[in-house]
């Protein structure tokens, strides 16, 4: 069989499957699964990433697999878009797998072998989602992905909350999948061929196209955690083991983004520009909603989950912009927005993985997920702390790290949205820019809270002094991902030139000019604006170093250690620091109407004063509870039919018979 990147990628996916099955050989052995199979999985990940990166610029490849339905065998296809996401999958999963080798110590609840199987099935199915080229293969891969991740989420199934979380997750995933299936059904447009090629060929009326897009947005939005379909996310991510959370948040959510891009730019032949506004709207809402809720969380993984919702919001904003620009025929800007979107997907995959893995190490070291009982860990576990700091700075969107690049691109795209030939819209879009700006600033707030409360200050519990730093494997995994963050931050031009292939392929554009110099990012679309992180970084670094050296050289003064000053307070203890609640207080104060808060305030004369505040999600009580109630109500009505009296049953038959006979006559 002649070499093709497609076959190679499929082989890697197959290898993942094989590794997973191999886990069942000795299901009980942590050694075997952890120390042997997971590293292999990581190698496959790296291989996949390399293959994908190499293949991006190569022409599209297709194949038909010998499995599937009689009429509809699995079609697979690799194009630039798929390659980009495959690279994301490979790169991120490599780091996570390495980390996992050290992480899964005593089998997290389930058997290690089983975990290994589910984990690699998860990876493999995600890969297949990206390669699938017909509705059936896509749905199979998609649901397998949901299923395997569900089992991973419920690894510690003895805890009721985790079971509930898993249930909610799978339910919403399934509903989303149904919507996606419907949208495929609409998209094939009368040909009744369910290959993607048939859908590309199909010509839909604008109305039906809109329906298809709406269904796809709903379905993929449910998976991506777009508000108001986000409710499963803050439940499922804390429930899962940290590497799994990292995979889900870092990679799985991106498959949903991939789906939306695939549908709106590839499968739907002609798209309406105003769809973009819808996506944009949902994106902005999600971004804002996610970040303010992240700011008031007290559980570190829940916080990260909400922050994922925020980032997904930003990504969908980018998608929306792309659709708008593309729809009104502003090619260069569309490319800019698309690149920003893809770039943010990459960034988020890596930085969020770093953060989740960091929390994983903390969890292992302390057994605590509640921010209120952590603190001062930078002394106990410096490796994790510093590597996590990279992720924190990156996701807070600070130069010269990667988070800032995509933010910069997105804002540039927004800045020139004023030229859209719809006055109302170009009034609207800059407001969107304002929201994005607000969100990134809030993200900074959230991340300071996250890092500060976990790693800085004094330990809030005595037990924390026993915390030990992560093992080598975990460090390597973290370092890999952190390095990726730095690299993506410092060399944007190189990355973007690769991503540009996608914009050429999807938007049918000529290759764009993205840089003035090898170190200088200067998109042609953003007039005269340029950004050279490397130079900026070097200068800043130089100043820092010079300053430090200068100070040291000139003044040779001692550094004494002493008790903290704190305005002369004598007895300082850990309880005086801000708790997570305390740190979130300003946000609660400013954005009060969005939260559903229950406060428990002490009276002045309390012997043992106690303060407690819980923040709930209004959407849950407004949307989901009523839905459940309705279904139950209907169920009760229906169950009245069956009263247990045989005469009644006979009557049913009798009436049915008579009715049908009357019908026939």
């Amino acid at each position: 069989m002649s070499f093709s990147y497609l076959n190679a990628c499929l082989t890697v996916l197959l290898a993942w499957g094989a590794i997973g099955l191999a886990g069942m050989i000795r299901p009980k052995s942590v050694e075997f699964a952890g120390r042997t199979l997971f590293p292999l999985g990581a190698l496959c990940g790296i291989a996949l990433a390399v293959l994908a990166v190499m293949s991006i610029a190569t022409p599209v490849e297709r194949a038909v697999l010998p499995i599937g339905l009689p009429g509809l065998p699995f079609h697979v296809r690799r194009d630039a878009l798929a390659s980009v996401f495959l690279a994301l999958l490979g790169g991120a999963s490599a780091g996570i797998s390495i980390f996992s080798t050290g992480y899964f110590r005593k089998g997290e609840g389930a058997l290690p072998g089983l975990l290994c199987l589910e984990y690699h099935a998860f990876l493999g199915s995600m890969g297949l989602v990206l390669l699938a080229d017909d509705a059936y293969a896509f749905m199979v891969a998609w649901e397998t992905m949901a299923l395997s991740s569900y089992f991973l989420v419920t690894t510690q199934h003895r805890i009721p909350e985790i079971r509930a979380a898993g249930f909610l997750y799978l339910l919403i995933a399934h509903v989303g999948a149904i919507a996606i299936l419907l949208s495929f059904g609409v998209m094939q447009g009368g040909s009744w061929q369910f290959t993607f090629d048939a859908m590309r060929a199909a010509h839909l009326t604008p109305g039906w196209a809109t329906v298809a897009f709406g269904l796809a947005l709903f379905g993929f939005g449910a998976k991506a955690g777009l508000v108001p379909l986000h409710v499963w996310l803050p439940e499922a991510h804390p429930a899962a083991p940290s590497p799994v959370s990292a995979l889900m948040s870092g990679v799985m959510l991106k498959t949903a983004v991939y789906g939306v891009l695939r549908v709106s730019f590839d499968l739907l032949s002609e798209l309406q520009w105003w769809w973009g506004l819808v996506a944009l709207g949902f994106g902005l809402v999600s971004a804002f909603y996610g970040v303010i809720f992240a700011a008031v969380q007290t559980d570190m993984k829940r916080l990260l989950a909400w922050s994922s919702i925020e980032n997904i919001g930003i990504i969908f904003t980018g998608v929306g912009l792309t659709i708008v620009f593309h729809g009104v025929g502003m090619g260069a800007l569309a490319a800019l927005a698309l690149i920003a979107t893809l770039y943010h997907c990459l960034n988020h995959a890596f930085m969020k993985s770093v953060l989740f893995l960091g929390t994983g190490s903390v969890l292992h070291a302390t057994g605590e997920r509640n921010l209120g009982r952590l603190g001062g860990l930078i002394h106990r576990m410096p490796w994790v702390a510093w590597l996590t700091l990279v992720g924190v700075l990156a996701i807070a969107g600070l130069p010269p790290l990667n988070g800032f690049v995509s933010e910069w691109l997105l804002l540039q795209a927004f800045l020139f949205a004023g030229d859209v030939p719809h006055t109302f819209v170009n009034m609207l879009l800059p407001v969107g820019a304002a929201v994005i700006a607000l969100c990134t600033a809030l993200a900074g707030y959230v991340m300071v809270k996250f890092f500060g409360v976990i790693f800085l200050g004094q330990p809030r519990e005595a037990a924390l002094s026993q915390a030990r730093d992560a093992g080598w494997m975990e460090r390597i995994g973290l370092a890999w991902l952190a390095l990726a963050c730095v690299g993506l931050g410092l060399f944007p031009l190189q990355v973007i030139d690769t991503l540009d292939v996608v914009s050429r392929e999807l938007l049918k554009l000529p290759p764009g000019r993205w840089g003035a110099d090898w170190w200088l990012l200067a998109p042609a679309a953003a007039r005269h604006a340029s950004y050279g992180p490397l130079a900026l970084f070097i200068v800043t670094l130089a100043v820092v170093v010079l300053a430090a050296l200068g100070v040291r050289l000139v003044y040779r003064r001692r550094v004494r250690r002493g008790p903290a000053w704190d305005c002369g307070f004598v007895r300082i203890d850990a309880r005086m620091q801000d708790t997570a609640e305390g740190f979130g207080q300003p946000i609660r104060h400013v954005f009060e109407p969005f939260f559903q808060m229950e406060r428990e305030l002490p009276t002045p004369f309390d012997a043992a004063p106690r303060y407690r505040v819980t923040v709930g999600d209004r959407l849950w009580t407004m949307l989901y509870l009523p839905l459940g109630v309705t279904v139950r109500w209907v169920a009760d009505l229906v169950s009245r039919l069956q009263q247990g009296r045989i005469s009644t049953y006979l009557l049913y038959s009798f009436v049915t018979l008579i009715a049908l006979l009357a019908l026939v006559l």
Partner: protein, 485 residues
């Protein structure tokens, strides 16, 4: 020859078991007989693969693509069920729920039941078909009431009366068919009820009579299929009978009933040339799906739960046959196959689970994976399969049915999807806590026979990803046979 073997071996087995059904080795004998039956079925299949469809025994028996795979399926599930019931019934006996006499009754009736179903499938004579269906009812009634508990008696009684009445309608329908037929084929008795002959002349049969006949037949056999609102016997019978019987009821009897309905539909549609029959079937199907989906929410007894899920799936199948056309029929046949495999697998797992917990109530069954991973995973995977999650075969058929529905009956699609969603929430929400979580139950003396569960699930998995060509061929031929728009 094979047919003789096929029908003979279970009959003989029934006789033997009615004599020795209480011996220690009776279960093994039961398994052996079923194995023999399965062997005969395989031989028959092989022959059909070799020589194609055939008529046997002075045209009294017919083996064509439509029933050959059902025969194999029936024999196969019969075999696996007998394997499963070996330890299961032992345990039941140990628990003192069954006396020796009852065991004898159980084993003999089990084989009688198999025989009747095989007859119903292979016969070419609609009259015989009816007789066999009635016989199947009678034999299973006694099995449903095997425990003699008040509940089981009630269930049995309802089963008997409702299905008896239903069957009576079917007989009248058959009679009308005969009436219409003898005017065409001539009154020389036998041939006028032979399906092949009727199928040959269906164009000339009198439409009005046939449409009336179809109503009676649909209501009659439909009762046995468990179509809402004629389904009321089904959950009771499934819940109160011994689990192996629930398995075969769900897995086989319903299939056979559907088979009967479809055979008749072919004739009627051939003559009536109006959409009425298919519309009736679609209506019944849709109603059953939706009602069942909502019934699922209220269930507290696990076997009832899956009984309702059977109703739901029968609804889906009926709907698909109602739609007709190559794709829908293909999907419906595939769905019959995967449903009976999956559902019986689920009942196997459920049976052991209930035995472990000593109760059929959902809230008493907890943490199966911790006490016995195989049962737990069997139940979990089975439920996920039956809920139509890929890569299991049920998804394949539902995918085809849904897409066809979008094409032919767009109005019905939202209803179907709604029902599927509701059913998913209901079933999964109940299964998850049973499979996962903590438990204090301890192990049982006889090791459960869970090979059948995983064999079935493996088959279903395979059908989801790869349908063997000759099977697909049969489906296609049968689909063509059944026809439709």
């Amino acid at each position: 020859m094979e047919v003789l073997l096929l029908l003979g071996s279970p009959l003989l087995g029934a006789l033997l078991l009615s004599a020795f059904g209480a011996r220690r080795w009776a279960p093994e004998l039961n398994v052996f007989v079923s194995a023999a039956t399965f062997g005969a079925a395989c031989a028959l299949t092989a022959r059909v693969i070799a020589f194609g469809p055939m008529l046997l025994g002075r045209e009294q028996f017919l083996v064509d693509p439509f029933n050959v795979f059902l025969v194999t399926l029936t024999a196969f599930v019969g075999l696996t069920t007998s394997i499963f019931s070996r330890p299961y019934m032992r345990i039941e006996a140990d628990h003192g729920r069954l006396s020796a006499g009852r065991l004898r009754l159980y084993h003999s009736m089990y084989q009688v039941f198999t025989t009747t179903m095989l007859v119903a499938l292979t016969t070419n004579n609609l009259g015989t078909l009816w007789v066999a269906m009635e016989a199947a009812t009678l034999s299973t009634v006694l099995l449903v009431t095997l425990y003699r508990t008040p509940a089981s008696l009630e269930a049995g009684w309802k089963y008997f009366i409702l299905c008896g009445v239903g069957i009576a309608q079917a007989l009248f329908g058959t009679m009308l068919l005969y009436l219409a037929a003898e005017r065409v084929v001539g009154a020389e008795g036998v041939t006028a009820l032979l399906w092949t002959h009727l199928n040959a002349v269906k164009g000339q049969l009198e439409p009005t009579v046939l449409s009336l006949a179809f109503v009676f037949l649909l209501v009659g056999y439909g009762t046995k299929v468990g179509l809402a609102p004629l389904h009321n016997w089904l959950p009771d019978a499934h819940a109160e009978g011994p689990t192996p019987i629930s398995a075969v009821l769900s897995g086989l009897l319903l299939n056979v009933a559907i088979y009967a309905v479809v055979r008749c539909k072919v004739l009627v549609e051939g003559s009536v040339r109006s959409a009425l029959p298919s519309q009736m079937m679609m209506g019944f199907g849709l109603l059953s799906v939706v009602l069942a989906a909502f019934f699922l929410w209220r269930q507290r007894d696990i076997k009832r739960l899956f009984a309702y899920s059977s109703i739901e799936h029968m609804g889906i199948i009926t709907f698909a046959f109602g739609m007709g056309g190559p794709v829908a029929n293909f999907a419906a046949l595939l769905h019959m196959t995967v449903h009976s495999l999956t559902k019986s697998a689920i009942f196997f797992a459920v049976g052991h689970a209930a035995q472990k917990a000593g109760s059929q109530l959902i809230e008493n069954i907890r943490g199966l994976v911790t006490i016995s991973p195989t049962i737990g995973w069997g139940l979990m995977l089975g439920s996920l399969a039956i809920l139509g999650l890929p890569p299991f075969g049920v998804f394949a058929s539902e995918f085809l049915i849904l897409t066809t529905a979008m094409k032919q009956q767009p109005w019905a699609t939202p209803l179907l999807l709604l029902a599927l969603g509701v059913a998913f929430a209901a079933i999964f929400g109940k299964v998850q806590p049973m499979v996962f979580g903590e438990t204090q139950v301890k192990r049982l003396p006889h090791p459960p026979a869970l090979l059948p569960v995983f064999v079935h699930l493996a088959l279903v998995l395979m059908l989801g990803l790869y349908v063997p060509p000759y099977l697909a061929g049969w489906y296609r031929d049968a689909a063509r046979l059944i026809g439709g728009p």
